[in-house]
């Protein structure tokens, strides 16, 4: 504040008066659940809780946590390919059972693991698979009639349901494998493993920094929404003002991110960064890792052989 501004500070009359707030009779108004502000704040806190929980799980001493992240990463890729090539639901169900066994051996809460996988399945497969189960898309034997068309029964076909089951189980197995990998490997070790298997260093650096700054920007969003909440009188409205606020928040966040990116670049340059990032990579394969790799290859071979014997 300049000296002139400080000297000319005059408090307006209204600022010295009290504002009517709560009714003096002590009566209370209608209760209404929080709107988008509350949801955003809860979402931010929920994300942080989830990340802390994942970090705790990854730090436990279970079966998969003890494995070298490179071995885990390559093993998951191999099993994903094997599951992708399987054409029988029983084969995929067997693999899913194995993933549940691995989750239990890695001390993951089974309920949480199953929920996390099946939360994604409807999103990835629901829209694609649902129409394919109907007779007007996949012709065949109608097992559940929904309506008639020119005298012909129309509804779910056994062929359609089998195809849908195959897709759903394949997606569930794939997501289970990826969730197993991400829940049992600390984020930093996972990035280092990606680097070790040949992903360019600059990608790893960018992903790592994006992950680090998500939390900072999340903090900025939380601050803005809390400031909004503290000045919101009455119920939160979903009106034009609310949309303008969300837009303004996005704009402010973009500005902050831009400013931060400049500062981060300067901080990197100050410590010798010249476009070629170097990272700490310290891995050593143990006998246990080799054994795990062999087991993974054997499992992939068993999946493909078993599936071949089951036929189409």
């Amino acid at each position: 504040m300049t000296q002139a501004a400080e000297e000319s500070l005059r408090v307006p009359e209204w600022l010295l008066q009290g504002e009517p707030a709560m009714c003096p009779c002590g009566c209370v108004g209608k209760r209404k659940k929080g709107g988008y502000v509350e949801k955003t704040l809860n979402g931010g806190a929920g994300l942080l809780r989830q990340v802390m929980f994942s970090d705790d799980v990854a730090a436990q001493g279970g079966l998969l946590q003890r494995l070298d992240p490179r071995v885990k990463f390559v093993s998951v890729i191999v099993l994903l390919v094997a599951a992708g090539l399987a054409r029988n639901i029983p084969t995929l169900l067997a693999v899913y059972a194995v993933t549940l066994g691995l989750a239990a051996a890695s001390r993951l809460p089974i309920g949480f693991f199953v929920k996390r996988v099946w939360l994604f399945v409807p999103i990835f497969t629901g829209i694609v698979v649902l129409p394919a189960t109907l007779s007007f898309v996949t012709h065949g034997h109608v097992v559940l009639t929904l309506w008639h068309w020119h005298g012909h029964p129309e509804g779910f076909t056994s062929q359609g349901l089998t195809s849908a089951g195959l897709v759903v189980s394949r997606v569930a197995v794939s997501i289970s494998l990826v969730v197993l990998l991400t829940l049992t490997t600390p984020w930093v070790r996972l990035l280092a493993a990606l680097r070790a298997v040949g992903v360019p260093r600059i990608f790893i650096l960018i992903i790592g920094m994006a992950y680090r700054y998500i939390f900072l920007l999340l903090g900025a969003v939380t601050d803005m929404y809390e400031a909004r909440k503290s000045r919101t009188i009455g119920a939160t409205r979903h009106d034009r003002g609310a949309r303008a606020f969300v837009g303004a928040t996005g704009g402010a966040l973009f500005g902050k991110a831009h400013q931060l990116s400049e500062e981060v670049h300067q901080a990197m340059t100050a410590r010798g960064y010249r476009g070629d990032a170097k990272t700490l990579e310290r891995f050593a394969l143990t006998r246990f890792d080799v054994l795990a790799a062999v087991c993974c290859l054997a499992l992939a071979a068993a999946i493909l052989t078993g599936d071949h014997f089951l036929g189409h």
Partner: protein, 269 residues
Amino acid sequence: MATETTTGTAPDPSTEREVQLACHEVSYSYLDRFPALDRVSLTVRAGERVALLGANGCGKSTLLKLLDGLIFPASGEFTAFGHTVTEDTLEDEQFSQAFRSRVGFVFQNSDAQVFSPTVREEVAFGPLQLGHTPEQAETRVTETLTMLGIADLADRAPFQLSGGQKKRVAIAGVLATNPEVLLFDEPTAALDPRSQYWLTDLIEQLGAAGKTIVHATHDLDVLPRIADRCVVFSEEHRVIAEGTPAEVLADRDLLLSVNLIHARSPLPG
């Protein structure tokens, strides 16, 4: 000449010591519109502890960035260790590496400086960039974290750290490269009293160990402990006085005119 007035006599800078950083009449404006430095001259010799004093927005942080070769003057000249530093000269890999390994900068915003996913990676960043092997970097990380009392934070993510812890990590990241010159931008700003005292002690010890220290600050109370010489900026982005902490702190009119104290403030110390 940028300096309009000089308070007292500057301390004997031991003119035999090597000039490490020198600015001659440098000017800088943001977006070519907002002036930040106006014909500023400054010489920093080996082992000196220099405090840049001034109100918010007077150009202290800009000067520190310039001294670290992060921005370049629109006019005037900046030399480091006898060599002119420009965008072109820093393109030279050998010169850049030598310069970066000899000058370290602790930013005011630790969130911008601590950018790696874990504390360990963060502290290892500088040594690795400057050509140390992962084993050497690992040793430096362990020893630096132990020295600063934060070895237990090695595997933590930055978002799990408090402001004071982040500042320690930022300092560890700079010290791990073992620079001769340390630049601190508002080092004690927004820190709790314990962290402030810890940092003041550290700067004192680093100075005693022979490091050259340049820091921008508002904190007049600790000046006698962490500075041999003060350079005072006016709100017009010029250097208007230089002197020992005792000389500068004794000049109430000067401190008032540059908005470092208020008419109702008691004199620090």
